[in-house]
């Protein structure tokens, strides 16, 4: 090969090189310090909040982990009215069910409370999985309906009240990863299962509803009775699920806790994409 030609605009190219170098060094140092500072500040903050968690893990022997309470029987007349207005079309006046809806007798107050208070009932479309909607009834109305239905026949768990402060979060993590993560995913964001069935996200669900879901097994979810999980274990799982709704994210932006899918998109689009823009700045277009 012949000796190479020098670049035509060598002084301009040199200036570009210098500016690239300087901005690269400055940017690198700055961002590294900034990123590291943010990350370490966050981990510092998180570790102090971790200590708080430790201080509340003392078990409180005087309070049981879960108290099951029947809603007050004085609410039954109100509940009967609400039930007839809103539920009886499908479930029947005595909640014995129909060809469209199941029998509710003997299911207990917890089942009714879960379905109604998470907004799943009344149902919009009976052919697909019930979705979580904005709830139609307030707390008292929900309890009233639960009181009415549970007064029709004995059986089923009453409404649980969870002693979250006394629960063990580490036990909860272990039980959650064994029993729940296989459908709800390990971060609790939920996911699509086969054939239009899905495991809902666990974000934004209260302690009582989590315990109710565990004890009653709504929809496709299996029921975890007293023989499978003790009351203390249910309280542990509830505590961990509540933690998952706002977990420690010392690494920065959480990307929705979806895992490698969003991470891959950020890595390719922002990481590589951004670097390619810098490369375009340095390398430029073809000369003609």
């Amino acid at each position: 090969m012949k000796a190479a030609l020098r670049g035509v605009k060598s002084s301009r190219a040199k200036a570009l090189g210098v500016s690239v170098f300087v901005s690269g060094v400055v940017g690198c140092a700055g961002l590294f310090a900034f990123g590291g500072g943010v990350a370490s500040a966050q981990s510092h903050y998180q570790s102090s909040s971790g200590k708080e968690v430790k201080s509340v893990t003392f078990t409180q022997p005087d309070r049981p982990p879960i108290v099951y309470q029947k809603p007050s029987s004085s609410l039954i007349p109100q509940g009967r009215t609400l039930f007839i207005e809103n539920c009886s079309t499908c479930h029947g006046i005595d909640a014995v069910g129909s060809s469209r809806a199941p029998n509710l007798q003997g299911l207990g107050a917890a089942t009714i409370d879960f379905w109604v208070y998470t907004g799943r009932m009344p149902l919009a479309d009976p052919t697909v999985q019930a979705i979580q909607k904005p709830r139609k009834f307030n707390r008292q109305q929900t309890l009233a309906i639960a009181a009415y239905v549970s007064s029709l026949a004995p059986g089923g768990p009453a409404i649980p009240s969870v002693n979250v402060a006394g629960a063990n979060i580490s036990q909860g993590e272990s039980l959650f990863s064994t029993n729940c993560a296989a459908c709800h995913t390990i971060t609790g964001v939920g996911d699509a299962l086969a054939n239009n069935v899905y495991a809902p996200s666990l974000y934004g669900v209260g302690a009582t509803q989590i315990a109710e879901a565990i004890r009653t097994g709504p929809g496709n979810m299996p029921r975890f009775g007293n023989g499978t999980l003790s009351n203390a274990q249910v309280a542990d799982v509830v505590k961990y699920v509540l933690y998952l709704q706002k977990p420690q994210d010392p690494g920065g932006i959480s990307l929705g806790h979806v895992g490698p899918v969003t991470e891959g998109f950020v890595g390719i689009l922002i990481g590589l994409g951004g670097l390619m823009l810098f490369g375009y700045w340095i390398g430029g277009r073809a000369q003609r």
Partner: protein, 551 residues
């Protein structure tokens, strides 16, 4: 200072004879083009990987030994876990800058493989693998395989629930190879799954074996490139026997050095600001536990997608069933990487082209290769997206089975369509005379009838002279009649002030020079035309009348 440097270099030159080599090296020419920077991104992110990786080895414990965790992360305290996982928690929560280093390492790995893939596409679509660069193509292909393998192994080292599931899948894939599968799997894992051997073995492979291979092959890759000199895009004065570009010292060295720091900066920003692989949320790996929706890192996505899309066929031969997993997870990557490595020879078989090529093809100049490449790439992109079927189904509230079948159909249907469309587009651009040429600046003029035309200027630095007649447009004539009705008001109107002649209200029949207007650089409207002054800078007739009245 200069004297001392001179003395030192003289001393070295007299003993080692470095002057000759150094001079030719410093004057080495590198062509400028953005697409030649892609491989550099890979190189620089690999350097970041080495630095951050060394930091991590200082704290990581490659052991499957179960211990009870007593660290600072409360939701896992008191649980039994492997030392590997506990030490990764320690790095994330207790080691100073440990988390940012771990996250930088992970982001750098994602960017490293991505940059290799984009670099590979550049080399493929420009035909830079042709004679004499076939060997370097093979070296590059092996580097890609090594990068993917090492990425997967590094992802597995924390021994968390999700990566542990990945190792479980890898074990089954090795087992699925006919005849030797179970022996090979036991050999690799030191017994049945999971065993205690795999984490220490993966560690040795990840930090010693594969990085050493990558360094050696990378040196060969760069050495061959240095020796053969860089390819360049076709342009005037560029031939198959020269290289046009910037000299290594000082121009290119500064650009490349700066680009290294920019790469490190982007990776550091991601590592510090965006969380990746929060293993503390995943918990320790225990074989009977599993999380739904487990995806691998993106570069394994196409293999995961292939596993998901494969129908559950059971193929029986010679009285033995070939495991279903074998086809998508062993056969597909095997064929992929074989065909990839041998592509220069396959193309040579077809084209019978034995010429030396130092000038790149533009992708549009070679419709067959480009459309074939786009088709094949589409196939892998569909597989890649198929690895997120569950996330897509959940995000768009649709059925998982529907998404799965959509991807199965797209996998067959999309590559030919994409290839055909690319072929037609490349053919189309071949018929356009100045396709891909940069547009020069123009002056836009308007005739009395309202017809617009453009005049190309030949130089973009100084608003070149364009010869055109200034004419009186109808609006202006109307305007002049309004203005000339009142002599005293004339001077108050903005147009007469800005007109070059000044005597008849901005109407000029003289030759004028186009001047740089305040507007966009492409649409230059001469400022001395009435109503001009930038794209939308002209004042309307009514506005001017109103202004005049106000005064």
């Amino acid at each position: 200072m200069d004297k001392r440097v001179e003395k030192t270099t003289d001393w070295l030159d007299e003993r080692l004879g470095i002057a000759k080599g150094a001079r030719s090296s410093l004057n080495k020419i590198f062509p400028d083009h953005w697409s030649f920077m892609l491989g550099e991104i890979a190189l620089y992110s690999f350097i970041v990987l080495l630095f951050t990786g060394v930091f991590l080895t200082l704290f990581y414990v490659p052991s499957s030994q179960p211990i009870i965790y007593h660290g600072s992360y409360a939701p896992l305290r008191g649980q039994t876990m492997s030392e590997a996982y506990a030490s990764t928690l320690h790095i994330s929560f207790s080691v100073r800058a440990g988390l940012v280093m771990r996250q930088m390492h992970h982001w750098a790995a994602n960017i490293f493989v991505a940059a290799i893939v984009v670099h590979l596409c550049r080399v493929f679509f420009t035909g830079s693998f042709r004679k004499p660069r076939e060997i370097n193509w093979i070296v590059g292909s092996i580097l890609l395989i090594l990068a993917i393998v090492n990425g997967f192994i590094g992802y597995s080292l924390p021994d968390d629930l999700i990566s542990g599931t990945g190792i479980r899948i890898a074990f089954s894939i090795v087992e699925s190879i006919p005849l030797v599968g179970s022996y090979l799997a036991f050999f690799l894992f030191g017994g049945n799954y999971p065993g205690n051997a795999i984490i220490p073995r993966f560690y040795t492979i990840h930090v010693l074996l594969v990085p050493a291979l990558i360094v050696v092959l990378l040196a060969a890759h760069l050495g061959i490139m240095y020796h053969q000199k860089h390819t360049q895009y076709p342009a005037p004065k560029r031939t198959n026997k020269n290289v046009v570009g910037s000299v290594l010292w000082p121009t290119y060295a500064l650009e490349a050095g700066g680009f290294f720091f920019i790469t490190a900066a982007v990776i550091a920003a991601l590592g510090g600001l965006v969380q990746i692989n929060p293993i503390w949320l995943y918990g320790p790996y225990i074989p009977y536990k599993v999380s739904y929706a487990v995806q691998p890192d993106w570069y394994m996505g196409w293999l995961d997608g292939a596993l998901r899309l494969m129908p559950s066929w059971e193929i029986v031969g010679f009285g033995h069933m070939i495991p279903n997993v074998f086809f998508p997870a062993v056969l597909l990557p095997g064929l992929t990487f074989t065909a990839l490595s041998l592509w220069p020879f396959i193309e040579k078989k077809i084209t019978k082209d034995d010429q030396v090529h130092n000038i790149c093809d533009r992708p549009r100049d070679n419709p067959w290769r480009t459309s074939l490449g786009v088709g094949i790439l589409t196939f892998y992109i569909v597989l890649f997206f198929a690895s997120s079927t569950d996330v897509l189904a959940n995000t768009f509230n649709t059925s998982l089975n529907f998404v799965l079948w959509t991807f199965r159909i797209l996998l067959i249907a999309l590559p030919p369509v994409a290839g055909y469309v690319t072929y037609m587009l490349t053919k189309e651009t071949a018929t356009v005379a100045d396709a891909g040429l940069r547009k020069g600046p123009v002056v836009i003029t308007r005739s009395e009838d309202g017809e617009y035309s453009t005049v190309v200027t030949d130089d973009d630095s100084s608003g070149a002279d364009v010869n055109f007649e200034l004419i009186e447009v109808p609006e202006e004539r109307e305007y002049r009649q309004v203005v000339e009705g009142n002599e005293t008001d004339r001077e108050l109107v903005g147009v007469s002030e800005s007109s070059p002649s000044g005597d008849n209200g901005g109407v000029s029949h003289k030759k004028a020079t186009a001047q740089r207007s305040g507007g966009s650089g492409i649409f230059r409207i001469p400022r001395n035309l009435p109503g001009g002054g930038g794209l939308f800078g002209g004042r309307g007739l009514k506005r001017q009348q109103r202004d005049a009245q106000e005064r």
